[in-house]
Structure formats: structure tokens, C-alpha cells
């Protein structure tokens, strides 16, 4: 192991501190026994208890999860197809326009996207609800999925698809039996990305939400306006915990697979 120089050590520490101190403060204060968020009054887990009896928060969490799952699934299907066409479609007419338009929402300000979707949904449906949030989230999440999937497809050996077609598979059959199974990890991470994007979106959701469709970020934001309660700290800590466990599991599984593969290859040669 190489020893780090003082300069590197300092920048590393500062960088990580910048990233993680806010979260650590939040986690520490979620175990605060007092009512005031900023004054430490001894260790306690009571806010976790009250959180699980707060119907409004639990409802919002349930709505958020349903929205996120639906969004992630829709965005993955659409984004994968878009990515596939962009990489494999060759030089069809309007390709540049299509790729530009597929990626534009990535840099479009959320406020503008939210506002335009609000206007569209008003004309289309009249009223807002969970469906409109799902549609709105799908719109911007699918761009991220298509970026992830198309970058995977760029490094995909095209001769695999040619081999499948050479052996008698139709283009659809080739996609389902060869392309999709091989790029599946990228599709899965696209799904997870879309899921987290939907989970933490506040701006767009607040434009297109309606009665009975309050997502967790909206709920937290409105609760904070009345004063930050330690309950919200507890809720946020739980969310951080879930995300951490998810990311760790995914990377561990992936690493084990890579190690196994390397071992196999060594044994084969």
C-alpha cells in the first residue's frame, strides 16, 4: 500500500467531510431525546417509535414507493428501447435530432419540466394524482436509463447479435435471447437509478401532484416549513440506511461475481 502524502490526506479528509458531515449530523440528531432539533438532550430512540405511528408519513412513504416502482419499470422499458435504437439503429433519418431530444431532459431545469407537464396534464386529464406523478417521473428518468443502457451497448460485441441472426434468430428474438440477458446488469442499474430519482424528486412531483398523492419528499418539505421535528431526522436516517444497505449488497454481489469469473478463467487456461 502506498503511503498518502500530507496534501492528499488533507484534501481527502476535507472532501469526505464536505460530503458526509451533514448526514452524520442528521443521523446523530435523530437519536436526540429532546423536542428541539438543535439542542442535544440525551440519547433516545423515541422518535423512531412515534414515526411508526404517524399515519401521514407512512401513507406518503407508501405512495412514494408505489410511484418509484412504477416509474422505474416504465422508464427502464422506454429508456432501454431508446438506448437500443440510438446505438443499433444505424444512421436513420433524424437520428441526431432523436438523440438530442432523448438527452435534453437531463439538462432541462426541473421547474420548467414540471411546469410544462402541469400544463399538459391539465389539458389531458383535468385532475392530478398518482398517475400524473408516475408519467412525469418516467419522462425524465427514462433519459438516465437510456444513457446507462446505450453506454453499455456501445461496448457490446456486435458480432454476438450477428451470430444470433446468422443462426436463425429474428431481430426481436435476438434482442430477447442474446442482447437483453447480456446487458441485464446495465438495465438493472438503470432501474435502480430511475427508482432513486423518483424517490427523492420534490420539484417535479410538487407541480403535478394532486389530492391523495402526497409523496414523501413533498410531505417532508411541508412538515419542515412548520419546523423541523426530530421525527423527520429519524425518517431520513431510515432512508439513508435503506439506500446504504442496497448499494453495499449490489456491489458485494457484483464483486463476488467478478472474483468467481476470474477464478474460472484462470482454471480454464
Amino acid at each position: 500500500m502506498k503511503k498518502l502524502s500530507w496534501f492528499n490526506l488533507t484534501t481527502l479528509t476535507l472532501g469526505f467531510a464536505f460530503l458526509y458531515i451533514p448526514m452524520i449530523v442528521l443521523i446523530v440528531y435523530s437519536f436526540n431525546g429532546g423536542r428541539l432539533v438543535t439542542v442535544w438532550a440525551g440519547f433516545s430512540t423515541k422518535w423512531y417509535g412515534t414515526l411508526f405511528h404517524n399515519e401521514a408519513f407512512l401513507d406518503a412513504a407508501w405512495v412514494t414507493i408505489r410511484v418509484a416502482v412504477a416509474t422505474a419499470t416504465l422508464a427502464t422499458i422506454l429508456g432501454t428501447l431508446a438506448g437500443y435504437v440510438l446505438v443499433r439503429g444505424g444512421r436513420f433519418w433524424g437520428r441526431t435530432l432523436f438523440s438530442g431530444m432523448a438527452y435534453a431532459p437531463l439538462v432541462m431545469p426541473d421547474v420548467i419540466l414540471g411546469l410544462s407537464l402541469l400544463l399538459l396534464f391539465k389539458v389531458m386529464f383535468g385532475s392530478m394524482g398518482m398517475t400524473t406523478i408516475i408519467l412525469a417521473h418516467t419522462t425524465f428518468a427514462m433519459c438516465y436509463v437510456s444513457v446507462v443502457v446505450s453506454s453499455r451497448l456501445l461496448s457490446f460485441d456486435k458480432s454476438l447479435e450477428e451470430a444470433a441472426s446468422d443462426l436463425g434468430a429474428t431481430p426481436f428474438d435476438t434482442f430477447m435471447s442474446v442482447t437483453l440477458p447480456i446487458i441485464f446488469p446495465a438495465v438493472l442499474s438503470g432501474w435502480l437509478l430511475a427508482f432513486t430519482l423518483s424517490l427523492d424528486d420534490l420539484v417535479i412531483a410538487s407541480f403535478v401532484t394532486g389530492p391523495g398523492a402526497t409523496t414523501l419528499p413533498i410531505k417532508i418539505y411541508s412538515a419542515v416549513r412548520l419546523g423541523v421535528s426530530p421525527e423527520i431526522n429519524a425518517l431520513s436516517t431510515i432512508m439513508i440506511g435503506i439506500v446504504t444497505v442496497g448499494v453495499l449488497t449490489a456491489s458485494l454481489l457484483n464483486k463476488r461475481k467478478v472474483v468467481q469469473r476470474l477464478k474460472d478463467e484462470k482454471a480454464a487456461n
Binding site: 460485441d157 450477428e162 444470433a164 446468422d166 443462426l167 429474428t170 482454471a267 487456461n269
Partner: protein, 383 residues
């Protein structure tokens, strides 16, 4: 082996459908041109390939050989001209509907499927019954000696085994035509030599027509019944390996296949004998030439190093003798290459078998020697 496709000692049994005017070709390229933008990959090419042939496309990279193969597989379509398979135009037929299979340079094995499932992939698309698929996969595994590896994934087997899986997969559907794109490029030399003979064996056993793309001339010569030497989208010469080697039709072919000495000079014609004057102070080279050559024409004389013998004295039974000085000796164990400088300045290489132990070798550096060869040993080329 009554129907061996390889030339045998019995002349009535020689496999040479290209010389038989009644033979029906399996594949016909008719004035095929393929352009990519401004670049012409295949230039107005016409060729017939016959059933049971092992046809090699040989040439440097960018000569159009891979494009030609991809047009047969259906991945590219010709800009002009037509391609017939068994008399039918296959240009409009998509790759998945052609009775043609291809073995890819990268093998293109499906990494998520086992060896068994890789081989069964094409059979399943044919809608065969389960038993029929099982039987055929087993047969293919036996043919390629992969029985033990059926349950493994491609990354769990060695390079040579992967190559055999790719071959088994492309042969499983019993195609009329098998295309091999640099099939042995990824193997080391020893394994490559073994595999070449295996390929020929399998080709004979299955009776499939093989078209192989390679840039390795040794490989093409070993496996093929006919070799097409390609350059800039054209076939410069199509002939048997022996024909290509012994009677190249151009300087390009002579130079591309094997080692050759090329000597330029002016031709003087007397009947079918040509004398080539290549230097003021040197005796002319005498050669027998079937091709019509104009008197005084500038020609290249091509002679292979192994056709020249190196001796202390000129050999009287040979038509050509020149004196020179040994400049370099390349010792390869079984043979030695002598680089001999002629008084006129040309450097000629000659190959001699080391029939004696090295300690008893006759010549060494700076020795004066005589080079001798017959009047039929070389070829007179006009291009």
C-alpha cells in the same frame, strides 16, 4: 476415402470441379461491387465456388475479403451485381433465413449460455423437437471432442476449446455453406497447426462447402482446395495452392505468397524460350515461358529460394548458373537460407536443406559459390 476432396494420386479422382464445364457452382458472384461511401471494398468481382470446396480468401487487411464473406452471410448487401446460392439470388434474403452459417473471428459465443445451449441455439430456432436437438448437439460435441465441457460457460474453457465450440455451433444446422472468418487467428502457432488439420478433417467428414477468410498464407495453402489472392477489391489470382505458389500470374501474387527472388530485365524471345538480360556483366537467365511475351519487353523473373541450389561448382545439368559471394546465412535448423550477392549487385536468396550436421557444412560467410537452377524453375512475369 473414395470421394476425398483432396487431390489424390489417382488423376481421375482429383477434386477439381472448377475445371469441369458441367459442374454446377454452389455460389456465384456476378459482377459484385460493394462501396462504402467513396471506398470500393469489392470491385466488379465474378467468381464461382463449387460444392465441397474449401475456398480460401487471402489478402492483406482492407483487400475486401471480409466484405465478400459478410455479403455471403447477409450482413452486407452488394451495391451492384448479384450473388447466387444454388442458382437462387440471395441478396434480398435476410441473414436469419439463409442456409449459410458463419464462424466469427471473435467466436461470438453467447457468454450467458452453456456450451450445450450455444450449440443448440440455432437448432431451437429451426423448431426441431427436443430429442432431435439433443441428438444433434451430442453429435456436434463428439465431432469437436467437447463432450466433457457441455455444461461449462464460455469463460470457463480455454481458447482452443472456445474455437471448437464456435465451429460446432456453426456446423450444428448442417449449413450448405460454412463461412470462417480468420478462425484460427486467436490461437498460438502449435494449436493453430493442429486445428488446421482438424478443420480439414471435419470438412471432409461433413461434406460442407467451406469459405475461409485469412491473411495467413500458410493457413490458406494448408487447408484450401483453391485460394483466391485478393488486392484492392479484386481477385488477382484464383488457383490451387500449388498453382498459386508455382505459377503466380503477377509480381503481387509471387511476392505475397512465400519468399521469392524478383529479378528485372529485358526479355529476348526465341520460341517458348525467353532469355532475360538483367545486367551488363552477367549472363542472361534462360526460362521456359508459356505466356506470350514481346521481344524486348521489360519483365520480372520470379524464382523461389528453394529452387536454387548453392554449390562450389556450377551444376552442368541446370540451364542457369551465376557466381556470387555469400553475404549472410540464416540457420533455421532443418534448412538454411543463403543470401548471395551477385557481381551485378542483386541479392539472391537460396534455400538448402541441412542434410549434414552443422559442423560439416560446406560454405561459410564470404565464400564464393555458384547458384544453379533449371530453365523451368522460375516464372516470367510481365506485371
Amino acid at each position: 476415402m473414395a470421394q476425398s476432396p483432396r487431390p489424390s494420386s489417382n488423376p481421375t479422382n482429383v477434386f477439381a470441379p472448377w475445371n469441369d464445364p458441367n459442374a454446377k457452382p454452389l455460389i456465384q458472384f456476378k459482377n459484385v461491387t460493394k462501396r462504402f461511401g467513396d471506398f470500393t471494398a469489392v470491385d466488379d468481382l465474378t467468381i464461382d465456388i463449387y460444392e465441397r470446396e474449401f475456398f480460401a480468401l487471402l489478402g492483406p487487411s482492407g483487400c475486401g475479403k471480409t466484405t465478400l464473406m459478410r455479403m455471403l452471410a447477409g450482413f452486407e448487401s452488394p451495391t451492384e451485381g448479384s450473388i447466387l446460392l444454388g442458382g437462387q439470388d440471395i441478396v434480398p434474403v435476410p441473414p436469419n433465413k439463409r442456409p449459410v452459417n458463419m464462424m466469427f473471428q471473435s467466436y461470438a459465443l453467447f457468454p450467458h449460455l452453456t456450451v450445450w445451449d450455444n450449440i443448440a441455439f440455432g437448432l431451437r430456432r429451426d423448431g426441431l423437437g427436443k430429442d432431435a436437438i439433443n441428438d444433434r448437439v451430442k453429435e456436434m460435441l463428439r465431432l469437436t471432442r467437447l463432450d466433457k465441457f457441455a455444461k461449462r460457460k464460455p469463460h470457463q474453457i480455454s481458447g482452443g476449446q472456445r474455437q471448437r465450440v464456435a465451429l460446432a455451433r456453426s456446423l450444428a444446422k448442417a449449413p450448405k455453406l460454412l463461412l470462417l472468418d480468420e478462425p484460427l487467428g486467436a490461437l498460438d502457432k502449435k494449436l493453430r497447426n493442429e486445428t488446421q488439420f482438424e478443420l480439414m478433417d471435419i470438412q471432409e467428414k461433413t461434406g460442407t462447402t467451406f469459405v475461409i477468410v485469412t491473411h495467413d498464407q500458410e493457413e490458406a495453402m494448408t487447408v484450401a482446395s483453391r485460394v483466391a489472392v485478393m488486392d484492392h477489391g479484386k481477385m488477382v489470382q484464383v488457383d490451387t495452392p500449388a498453382g498459386i505458389y508455382e505459377a503466380p500470374n503477377s509480381v503481387y501474387v509471387a511476392d505475397f505468397i512465400g519468399d521469392v527472388n524478383l529479378i528485372e530485365g529485358n526479355a529476348k524471345v526465341e520460341g517458348n524460350t525467353v532469355t532475360i538480360h538483367f545486367a551488363e556483366c552477367a549472363a542472361p537467365i534462360t526460362a521456359v515461358c508459356e505466356r506470350p511475351i514481346a521481344d524486348g519487353q521489360r519483365v520480372s523473373y520470379a524464382i523461389r529460394p528453394e529452387k536454387i541450389s548453392v554449390n562450389r561448382e556450377p551444376l552442368d545439368d541446370r540451364a542457369n548458373h551465376v557466381k556470387g559471394k555469400i553475404e549472410d546465412i540464416g540457420y533455421l535448423g532443418n534448412v538454411s537460407t543463403y543470401h548471395v550477392r551477385l557481381p551485378s549487385g542483386e541479392l539472391v536468396s537460396a534455400l538448402m536443406t541441412n542434410s549434414r550436421r552443422l559442423a560439416r557444412r560446406d560454405f561459410t560467410w564470404e565464400d564464393e559459390v555458384w547458384l544453379s537452377w533449371t530453365d523451368t524453375a522460375g516464372v516470367v512475369l510481365t506485371e
